[in-house]
Symmetry: none
Subunit: 418 residues, 2 copies
């Protein structure tokens, strides 16, 4: 059953607005076993949309179309569909009555431009005859077209409440694909690819996908079939193999994120943490506290941007800064110990570095970062050199620092620095 | 000059990832006078991509293709293009040498899967022979195809540095539209829309666009024409009118962001700032320090998540917390004064609130936030109630707090709270 998605709107092909509907519709369809072959995004333009609709009905069974259904004069979808599909545009009295009733019900003023919404290609069926949203379906040859509004909330509701049930009445998905997502930090895409070389040949029923999501890499495992138990067994087998190959580089699966994984590990061990941030400027604290319930383990954080604040608030020795510089192994260790002591937490996590673009030197180029962790009477520290702009260095630093906590709590070695 | 954009990636037609590249490429092209007729998003699938490429070279002069250039085995773009366009895939020795040199230069390990990047359709030209990114162009009949990596940062850089200049060598745009962007905080879209009612009729040569970008609203002013002086005059006129109507609600224009505007204002007045964050957990510090050179005005920040940390580090009275709660006007005022005093800065900025989803009460529902600013011997404070999830409440709080600084420094009144 070929399926495609057509997204209409001038704002979407002029860099003004990022489309939300194609992305949403494709995920919605896939979760019911229908893979969209394509998402076509076009403007409110007669020639382009017309040819896109004509080619869609030649090859696809289900066609989702969004946008251009409103009352303003740049909303042309119904008219273009009528001409492209050769189905005359008529004033649908039932639809007009429905719009008038809805307007009354919502206590809105009737406006002449609303009549436009009732001019539909002959044969159109309202998607939501009980509700308040516009949207209609059209049958043309072997194809069924669903026309939905472009407003994301309305589109989503109609998709779930009307379109998917209608599709499922006509089509029983044979094999719904199931996915798992594993998230990797600390290995490059090409390293991951090398690791997977043999696996793809070995696990023939499994499809792998690789998606960089800076600074992480996400791996999807997909299995398709009819027997749920068998699918789960294949997924289990694939996940086990991957975990065996990538081990502690896998930090999360599914919807988990680094900060939630770290939070769970801290909660499980009933440990608390405090952070001392220089180059990340608060990003680690922000990430830790983006998880609901983080007050159980996150006590406080110090953004020690100036040298003076490192000395005054953390007890870093002036002498250490003078001798080694604020970006140094010695300073990060004193920062980690200092914040742990002041906050009376089980762990003290510290970072100092040069986020750039200014402040680099030959000895310590932009991207030089030190991470320190004081815990269980020990101090661990390491040096990294991250590439990229200020934002990337900050993000990579926060990720590596959180990964240190995760690895420590799980008994894994830290990712080697330089 | 017909132009189209082809976006490749299984993750983009399965609801996993929202595309950034089609949106970006279309905006980039339009700002140079080229309107894309369509954005086609397809999976890494031989049949679909092949037919999309074939129909593209039949009708379009410039074709931007992104994705599927990486080293993993689901990266199939070069191979599919070679077969669809009938241009044999060859191992390009110059490209291979370039990759080997780049790997060496970046001190990365050579990995066998990297050789794949040098297998290109015959006639392909590297887009960035001096740089480190993959990407190539192909000439086929009257069409020129640009193949770019799917990683947004790389795609953007190549688009601006290599593709656009190459296109402009072949095509002189007749009437490039010029834009200005004005950024608004603190007014809803419908309020802005009301304000613009008369303006659209009055300024006929100007097109306005309204784009919510949470928690901000961005307004684009577009004028199209051949005479630069006249265009600029129209833009000036429109901008002046809008500024007159929206006044201090406009916080930035063009590429400026709230944190850079605040930073510039602090630098200009040679003032320093420190922050005390509870519910934002470091986000304000992170935003302030995301601007290069922020160490000139940002001294330190305290993420006082626990009550104890508010007392110990800021000198907030235990009694105040007991009497009014940690989320209260009284506490935020003591926080602002405390951080200013400890950091010895010109300004102390503080926030405390309930980011949710837990912790709300009838009296203080989720989204209740207090902001405090100590400066020039005065203490200002205000209460807001933001809607949305934890992330939205944190972002809105950080934006409002930064906006307080901006408004104070410019002599504007703060946005009224409740």
């Amino acid at each position: 059953m070929q399926t495609e998605i057509i997204i209409i709107g001038n704002e979407l092909i002029s860099g003004k607005t990022r489309d939300l509907n194609g992305w949403y519709a494709s995920g919605c369809l896939l979760s019911h076993g229908l893979e969209a072959s394509e998402i076509r995004t076009v403007g409110d333009n007669y020639d382009t949309l017309s040819s896109v609709l004509k080619s869609a009905v030649k090859r696809s069974h289900f066609i989702i179309v969004t946008g251009g259904l409103g009352p303003t004069e740049d909303d042309l979808t119904a008219e273009i569909a009528s001409r492209a599909l050769d189905m005359p545009l008529i004033l649908d009295q039932a639809v007009l009555d429905h719009i008038k009733n809805t307007t009354k019900k919502l206590a809105l003023n009737w406006s002449a431009s609303l009549e436009k919404l009732a001019w539909l290609p002959k044969g159109a069926k309202m998607l939501d005859p009980q509700g308040e949203m516009c949207g209609f379906s059209l049958s043309k040859g072997d194809s069924l077209l669903y026309f939905l509004p472009g407003v994301p909330e309305q589109m989503r509701e109609l998709m779930n409440r009307c379109v998917i049930p209608d599709i499922l009445r006509r089509y029983k998905p044979a094999a719904v694909p199931r996915h798992r997502i594993l998230k990797v930090y600390g290995l490059s895409e090409s390293r991951i690819s090398d690791v997977f070389k043999g696996l793809t040949a070995e696990l023939k029923k499994v499809m792998f996908g690789f998606y960089p999501s800076f600074p992480e890499n996400h791996i999807t495992i997909t299995v398709r079939g009819k027997d749920d138990t068998e699918i789960e067994r294949e997924l289990d087998r694939a996940e086990k193999k991957i975990r065996h190959l990538l081990g502690p580089y896998i930090f999360a699966s599914g919807d988990e994120i680094m900060e939630s994984v770290v939070g769970e590990a801290l909660k499980e061990r009933k440990m608390t943490i405090s952070v001392a941030e220089s180059c990340t400027g608060g990003l680690i604290g922000h990430r830790l506290t983006s998880v609901s319930g983080s007050s159980l383990y996150f006590e406080r954080g110090l953004i020690v941007y100036s040298n003076l604040s490192k000395v005054e608030m953390l007890g870093v020795m002036e002498n250490t800064i003078d001798s080694y510089g604020a970006v140094s192994d010695q300073v990060v260790r004193e920062m980690a110990v200092g914040v742990k002591k002041i906050a009376k937490t089980d762990m003290g996590l510290a970072v100092t570095g040069i986020a750039g673009p200014l402040g680099g030197s030959e000895d310590k180029p932009v991207g030089t970062v030190f991470i320190g962790l004081a815990v269980d009477g020990e101090i661990y520290s390491g040096k990294y050199c991250f590439s990229g702009d200020r934002d990337k260095v900050k993000h990579n630093t926060s990720e590596m620092a959180l990964d240190w906590v995760r690895r420590y709590l799980n008994g894994y070695p830290f990712i080697p620095g330089i």
